[in-house]
């Protein structure tokens, strides 16, 4: 059964096993889904039954081909809705995730495809994440982390890996938004903070923050 719960599990497994086939632990799933580990065990048993995942006891879980297809479908829906909310309805990039968490479960492919078409089939969502097309194909990007930035290096912000409102509002306050061009002026010895020039202003970016900013080398 493709319940909302199943959809959420599959999507989350997919997001946690970033580099395709990596195995996901129960703990990480429990954390991400805000659910007790015992409940995760149960759920995985069922998902295994349904052939959506391969679940090996006390080892970990990975998606089957069927599961991956469903997961990618969810990712598409989520990101299309996020993009729509931001681009067409004027929601902030810190607001869209939560609403998309609900909208993604509306069962109507035509709806998603119409929204996508209306926006010219965008390839990236407001956080810079790639949007799979209707067939599940993505544009794979090869960006790096700002924390790998070098002194005098010039970069362009392409995405973020932390989607929490707190983080996103913080970035916005300093104009560290998608598309912004930044230059690394210095890297502090003490704590590894980056002093970057962004929009003609100097901003100090902590390693933690830098680690969640995805950039292209210019």
């Amino acid at each position: 059964m493709r319940t909302e719960t199943v959809e959420n599990y599959l999507k989350t497994i997919y997001n946690l096993s970033s580099d395709n086939t990596a195995v996901v632990t129960n703990q990480k799933l429990a954390d991400k889904l805000n659910i007790n580990p015992a409940s995760v065990t149960e759920a995985l048993r069922k998902l295994h039954e349904l052939k959506y995942v391969v679940y090996e006891k006390s080892y970990g879980t990975r998606l089957t081909a069927t599961g991956a297809k469903m997961a990618i479908d969810m990712v598409r829906r989520h990101r299309i809705w996020e993009t729509y909310l931001a681009k067409e309805l004027g929601f902030g990039w810190d607001e869209v995730h939560e609403i998309a968490e609900e909208l993604e479960h509306v069962k109507n492919d035509k709806l998603i495809n119409k929204l996508a078409e209306l926006m010219g089939n965008p390839s990236f969502d407001p956080h810079g994440d790639p949007i799979p097309d209707a067939k599940g194909k993505f544009q794979k990007n090869k960006f790096v982390n700002l924390s790998e930035g070098k002194i005098k290096g010039a970069y362009k912000i392409m995405g973020v890996s932390d989607h929490s409102p707190v983080f996103l509002k913080y970035l916005e306050k300093h104009q560290l938004i998608i598309g912004a061009e930044v230059q690394v002026k210095n890297i502090e010895e003490v704590d590894g903070s980056l002093v970057v020039l962004c929009n003609k202003k100097e901003v100090i970016v902590s390693p933690k923050v830098a680690g969640n900013i995805i950039v292209a080398v210019k």
Copy 2:
């Protein structure tokens, strides 16, 4: 708890007790919700507990003020989404209801208000039903049924009371759509069918169909 189930019950009770305070029977609820009458009894007991309805055993149910407020909120969401799907995304009036059944449950007032605003706060949905504003106020209309039409009478179609795709597609085929102007040429003695002129074509409208077309007298 305001679950999806609760929202559906309240909305349905509201829709079934058309003339405000009319009592709704379990049977009608069971039919509309496609649920076993036994389940309806249980649900109503809980809704009564929650003070959303006044439920009197073996007699019937009506909404409390609190329940009515929630119901009207649901009606607003449903109709805003229907209008949005039709006007902005190009869905047919026969397609929008089903999708809106799901979208109406997304918990975000800002979203609904943005959609409404974007469309200029419409007062009627694609079926001619009035859309309550954010405060729950509607424009009460005083239309009549086409089945009450008189020979030589001229009318304008303002709405429909059957929202099923079959019915709506049938109407569309004969151009009997909202805004269309019709003139009653004759009423057949045999079965009460109306012969109406619509878009310069004669159409025979059965009593059953006419009974689901809402018109304004011109």
